[in-house]
């Protein structure tokens, strides 16, 4: 994950739509394999993640970070553990919007698309 965001939060930049890209590069209809290659590309855009402590969990001095949309949520969990200085055997529970724990292989981008609020993804932890 990169350095913390500036005070003015910017919304995650979305990559150009498939239609625009294809229109610009190919005149004839692409084959299914080419289409699949396009869809395999990992989303490199950034999502703003805001960490919020639950209960007696330690509060972070800076709790806003940018995560890569194409990364799995597992990367966010590992980053948070590192930020909190947690030991391997210590348990950490994370939730989206204080409602559910996402599967660790859900992508950050998908979680933001579906559950983001006001330009960021809220990740609660305890």
């Amino acid at each position: 994950m990169s350095i913390p965001t500036p005070d003015l939060l910017s919304p995650a930049i979305r990559p150009p739509s498939a239609e625009t890209m294809m229109a610009n590069s190919i005149v004839t209809q692409p084959t299914a394999l080419e289409a699949l290659e396009h869809y395999k590309k990992k989303d490199a855009s950034k999502v703003v993640v805001r960490f919020k402590a639950i209960g007696s969990a330690p509060i972070m001095k800076n709790n806003v970070f940018k995560a890569t949309a194409g990364h799995k949520f597992q990367a966010v969990i590992l980053f948070l553990r590192q930020q909190l200085g947690m030991k391997k055997e210590e348990a950490l529970f994370t939730y989206i919007n204080a409602a559910f724990a996402p599967a660790p292989d859900d992508t950050v981008g998908n979680l933001y698309k579906c559950f983001g609020t006001e330009g960021h993804l809220i990740v609660n932890y305890r």
Binding site: A18, A32, A35, Y39, G70, I96, F100, K113, C114
Partner: protein
Amino acid sequence: MSTPNPVHSSTNLFRRLSWQTSISISIRIADGEPGAGIGADRYFIQTPRYTYLPLLIPEIRESLVELALDDKQIEETDEKDWWFEEEEDEDEAPGGFARQGACRWHWPIDLISIHSYISRPRPLPLPSSSSSTEPKQLKLLLHLSKPPIDRLLMPNNIETCKTQWLNQIKEADFVRWRNTNKVTGLRKTELDNGWDGIVQDDYDAYLRMASRVLPLPIAPAVGSNMTSPNPSRPPSTDPSGSTAKAESAYSTRAIPIKIYLPDNAPVIQEVIPPIGTDGKPTTLLSILRQHLHLLFPSRSPDPYSLAFPVAQGILIPEQSEVAWLAACMCGADGWLRIGICLRAQ
């Protein structure tokens, strides 16, 4: 005498059919592991789509591992180090995509099977043909050591499996309503019914929980523009006996749906409303054209010319309403999972 509500009956029919559909799996102890290569190193199992690998471990232990390994090897092996991987199918011609590798513990068998099915282009399954969408067995290798933790992401015990299932139920609930009130409002016995139903292959127990959480493909409440040929009846005439107020699948904010592509492409999960901006129910084809335009081009006379969608082991017709699919054919965790298979010409 009240007649059964046709929408409730057909919903229940499809839910039960989805519940009952099963996968044939063959499991072989991986080369290099104790017990591999001897006569008794393979086991065949028929499992429901909604179950999970951790729930199969006890049977696999008893019927495969304890027969293939000697006493000393059995003593030395620890289930928490076991893991599964899809085996390369030597009978199939080359030309497939990257395999899924180590099978994740929190994936229902349905999802593992989807990834296996879409791992190579296939001809469009025809309803008239004798072979079903999935004629082949799912072939797995069982490893007894060195689990790839970064791929598996969690231990294989049953408590973790249940927690993951419950979180998926909540996530699906949140997608539908922007809160998890229906799930958190369940009594503990109702929640346990859901999980016990999965563990014991008891559809009725599962439905006692699911009917409180899943909406029905009925018309939304009075006041909306939606008209339906099947006007909803009061819950008291519901043949399933549920006294909970039935919510309409067409009133949800969004549909819990995930779409999977071959070759380790990222999973597609978008906000998909049950009713489009034109006021009509969202069809599967419309979302495939919107989110996978290159594989489902708008101008093509044959919607499935490049690829086709499968769910619960069958080809899904393009005009299917996603709200209906999600209400009637979702997995036991509330999610509708669609695999996109490239079409072999």
